[in-house]
């Protein structure tokens, strides 16, 4: 039995003893170090580039846009972002030139000897002015507009006893993975190898082919090094960085390493989209929601990157896990002259979830009932349908999560007790909750477009190698895949290992994003194992001259009518050397009946949802306005916890990111410049800022997931912020509709 067991992590030992090799640990003979010269204005034209004549330019390699052999376009969704700005600068810290030298110091010295002469253009760096300001993108500065309609909104409002309206705002959030972005490009004859800290190796392949004017995917080899976290930040940005290193490597004909320091990483790479979200809600006096009108604006920054899909997920999650027949959601991702925003764990949902949950609290307040009651009355059940008209048929755990978290946290008693304390105490206490969901896998028919593949290979020593391009970025992919294969074959986890991620060797399983790895790729791995088992049994039946039905695989041994004939490992070895079945592979097949209309946003948005309820407790010191999140109870449904300890790790880690989002994480941006680009001032919570966590894993299995499992990666970042904000409301008697809620904002609210 391997599923649901806390086996040792595959990557644990080497990370603890320091043997794990990150990209900066790797070097090659003759390797150069690359740096980037970036723009210093949010919008403008490059008039001239001046190289200091006193500098010995033969000692370094310089690349500009004219050195690009193929297309100067980062291939992703839209084709608007250049690898290197040619004439137009669209944001601060946009790459213009690349420089490589024998040391990083020398490359940086050369960089100081170059001057970019620019003509500045008017810029828009404020989301609220995105529509009215300068023309930046298309006709209307919109990267994407989405409209989701359900039922009859005017009728919903007509039926309402009350209508409540409110605007919510969320800020820019930095992923702050522990290892900054980094790659090494090693040039070859008509090919290039990229070693990098990244989430999506095949994205890099797709981005580099047109850049380098290569035609065959094998010409770009991408190898993932041990990666110190990503949280979405290494989803698409490595395309750009790998392109830069590749350009320097091709021109210099030397391996080139580019590793950002923390400041450059914070200044230049993508972050969570800031948002402004307007809610108008109709409700009956018994608490029933009759209408939900939601308008969402995201600041996409200067280039489209992943904004449209982030917006898409944000919109689909905007009406939350609540029953409502009349819904209207409008979402817009705007172009501005801020550095581009992109993927961050939760992918648009944390913003819209924050707004909705705060609105639900407002509904409760309007009716004079507890926020818990509104959620109890409206939480979805099987048979209900989401905003896109998706009817929920199985694996719905809203009420289970809600009741479990409420009971475990003693919410009801504390809510009334803290309310009584309110007027007197200097240390104010509050408790708040949130209810939320997160779709597992790609949106709509996305998985069908990716058609992910996974494979297994038997090695000559009788081990099973797992071949996928799913990257372990700290979340434990390697371990759970091995568990799934071991379970399916009935063999020890130690017999299963990962082949590593090298695009020349492993199939494209799709990107490591969208809470899809465990559920989608995991199921491919599991079914490949089932295939291998079947093939080995058939082969053994031929060898033994018997019927395949007489053979079973139990406890690592093949039994023929109950008698042991071979150990798994022995037969695997034999299969490998004697041309038996030594490999298996699977490609994603879309389940029957999945319907999704990308134009109308109607249909099955996700194969299934994961559900959660968070209860946060806070203490606020009215002398210093310090907020301390003292206790955090999470009940989250993941279908089946393949590795419970790692699931708890995901829940606690994601919750802490959400707590930081709610209370202290604030990237300060002024005129397109990020002002706090160091860990000392771009704050994230430390261990001492973390609450006591109480985590309850709920298991409401999904028939389409491996062993019932659904996604857990992003779910935990959705609910924390609104729960904390609700607790702060409760503690202070004020309403906070904008995050982060800093001590400074509490002071202002309490002393108007």
């Amino acid at each position: 039995m391997s599923i649901g067991v806390n086996v040792p992590r595959k990557d644990g030992q080497s990370k603890v003893n320091g043997q794990a090799a990150y990209v900066d640990d790797l070097s090659f003979d003759g390797m150069l170090y690359g740096v980037t010269l970036r723009s210093q204005i949010p919008h403008g034209k490059i008039r001239a580039i001046q190289f200091d004549p006193k500098f010995d330019w033969s000692s370094v390699v310089v690349v500009d846009h004219s050195d690009i052999p193929g297309q100067n376009i980062v291939t992703l969704i839209q084709r608007d972002q250049p690898f290197l700005a040619a004439q137009l600068i669209r944001h601060v810290n946009e790459p213009i030139l690349l420089i490589a030298a024998t040391s990083r110091k020398k490359a940086m010295e050369a960089r100081t000897r170059i001057e970019i002469i620019v003509d500045e253009l008017p810029s828009v760096t404020n989301l609220e002015k995105a529509a009215t300001g300068v023309r930046l993108y298309g006709e209307d500065n919109l990267f994407k507009e989405i409209h989701i309609e359900k039922g009859d909104l005017p009728r919903g409002f007509a039926e309402a006893d009350y209508i409540v309206e409110r605007t919510y705002k969320t800020g820019l959030q930095e992923q702050m993975y522990i290892e900054p972005q980094g790659v090494i490009a090693v040039p070859g004859k008509d090919r290039i190898s990229i070693y990098g800290s990244l989430q999506c190796p095949h994205y890099v392949v797709k981005a580099l082919l047109p850049l380098l004017s290569f035609s065959h995917p094998d010409q770009v080899q991408v190898i993932q090094m041990v990666t110190g976290g990503g949280f979405g930040g290494k989803e698409e940005y490595p395309n750009l960085l790998a392109g830069h290193a590749a350009l320097l490597a091709m021109k210099s004909e030397c391996p080139v390493k580019m590793v950002y320091d923390r400041a450059e990483d914070i200044l230049a790479t993508t972050k969570r989209h800031p948002s402004i979200i307007r809610h108008k809600t109709g409700l009956k006096s018994d608490g029933t929601l009759t209408a939900l009108a939601i308008e969402i604006d995201f600041d996409g920054g200067a280039y489209a990157t992943l904004s449209e899909v982030v917006l898409s997920r944000g919109c689909i999650h905007a009406a939350g896990p609540y029953r409502c027949e009349n819904i209207d959601i409008v979402g817009r991702a705007w172009a501005t002259n801020n550095p581009p925003n992109g993927a961050f764990r939760g992918f648009g949902a944390p913003q819209t979830c924050f707004a909705l949950e705060r609105q639900i609290d407002l509904v409760a307040k309007t009716l004079g009932i507890d926020p818990l009651e509104v959620r109890r009355r409206n939480a979805m059940e099987p048979g209900d349908s989401t905003a896109t008209g998706q009817v929920l048929t199985e694996s719905v755990a809203t009420h289970k999560c809600l009741e479990q978290a409420v009971k475990a946290s003693d919410y009801i008693r504390k809510r009334s007790e803290y309310s009584k304390l309110l007027p007197k105490a200097r240390i104010r206490r509050g408790i708040g909750l949130s209810l939320f969901f997160h779709g597992s896998g790609f949106t709509g028919d996305g998985e069908n477009r990716i058609r992910g593949r996974a494979g297994l290979q038997v090695t000559p020593d009788g081990f099973i190698e797992i071949l996928t391009s799913s990257t372990d970025i700290g979340q434990g992919t390697e371990t759970i895949f091995a568990q799934m294969v071991a379970e399916e074959l009935g063999i020890p986890v130690d017999l299963c290992r990962n082949a590593g991620v090298d695009t020349n060797r492993v199939p494209d399983s799709g990107p490591t994003v969208a809470s899809r790895t465990c559920m989608i790729v995991g199921d491919l791995v599991r079914s490949a194992a089932a295939q291998l088992r079947e093939d080995l049994i058939k082969w053994l039946a031929e060898l033994e001259n018997c019927n395949a039905e007489q053979i079973t695989l139990v406890g690592g041994c093949f039994l023929l009518s109950g008698q042991r004939v071979a150990s798994f490992q022995d037969l695997a070895k034999r299969a490998c050397s004697e041309g038996g079945p030594a490999s298996a592979s699977k490609t994603y097949v879309q389940p029957e009946g999945l319907e999704w209309d990308e134009k109308t946003y109607q249909g099955q948005a996700y194969p299934v949802f994961s559900w959660g309820c968070d209860v946060a407790e806070v203490e606020i010191d009215l002398d210093t306005y310090e907020i301390s999140v003292t206790r955090f109870t999470a009940a989250q449904d993941v279908g089946k916890a393949i590795h419970p300890v790692m699931v708890m790790g995901q829940i606690e880690g994601g919750s802490l990111q959400a707590i930081g989002y709610a209370t202290m994480e604030e990237v300060l941006q002024k005129n397109g410049w990020i002002e706090n680009h160091r860990m000392t001032n771009c704050l994230i919570p430390t261990a001492l800022d973390a609450p006591a966590f109480e985590t309850h894993i709920i298991e409401e299995p999904f028939s389409g997931g491996p062993f019932g499992a659904k996604g857990v990666g992003e779910l935990p970042t959705d609910g924390g912020a609104p729960a904390v904000a609700a607790a702060i409301d409760h503690a202070t008697g004020q309403r906070f509709d904008e995050i982060p809620v800093t001590p400074e904002k509490i002071e202002l609210a309490l002393n108007p």
Binding site: E109, A263, E626, T680, T686, A687, E744
Partner: protein
Amino acid sequence: MTTEVEFCAPKNLAEALEFLALNRDKKTWILAGGTDIMPAINSRQISPLAVLDIWGLRELRILEQHQRHLTLGPLTTFSEMMQDPRIGQTVPLLREAAQSVGAVQIQNRGTLGGNIANASPAGDVLPVLAVHNAVLELRSAKGSRNVEFNAFYSGYKQSVLKPDELIYRIHVPIQWPQQIPYWRKLGTRQAQAISKVAIAAIAEVRGGILQDIRIGLGAVAPTVVRAKKTEDTLRGRRLDNRLIQAAGEIIQSDICPIDDIRSTARFRRRTTTNILRRFLSDLKLAHRGM
């Protein structure tokens, strides 16, 4: 083309002072624990031409307990301040302030001398030295001189330390049994945090009267400051609610905080008042009937 940095790891103090004397015109930086200097070099805020590494100098790593004062070498680390019972018993505020610095790694490496010489208004041990009326002994190849800690800073990140001098000793008058210490750091988070406001104070109450009070404030002015006007208002007065209320207002004229990346002037003003009042109220409560 790339600049060479002259690096000196002297064997003894005399060598160190000689190096300073010879390199006084250059951009020379003394390196103690390096917890301020290394990030500054890394982020290119400073680019030293010469570095004097004093970490290995035994002469600067001493601790002497005298009748009325404690003498500390500048290399005393925050961890030592937290752990050494001689410090904990005689200048408990130093222990408390050290405890609130950074986290373990910084506490093991960061030094008292470095905190002083770095001259940040947010240096956490500085309000403590201010209320204790510490004296700094500065030394150069030419000799020693003593400077009152409260006269050491001449402006934001500026001090009277000359390029050929180093901080040689820190003399801290010890706290008497009747004195009550108070420390409160308001940081940006619970660890690895720079102060938005820091307050150190010692007070003496007899018969309900504040016989003496000294208040040192960090991060609310260009340098660490003593709240002189507040102290004058409080000294010799009966500690009652009216006085506490008034002190909270007067302290506003002792400070001139700014808006910066970590907080706002408004927030710093209000919390300074709140923390002071909290301290005085607690003090009053503890001395009820005395």
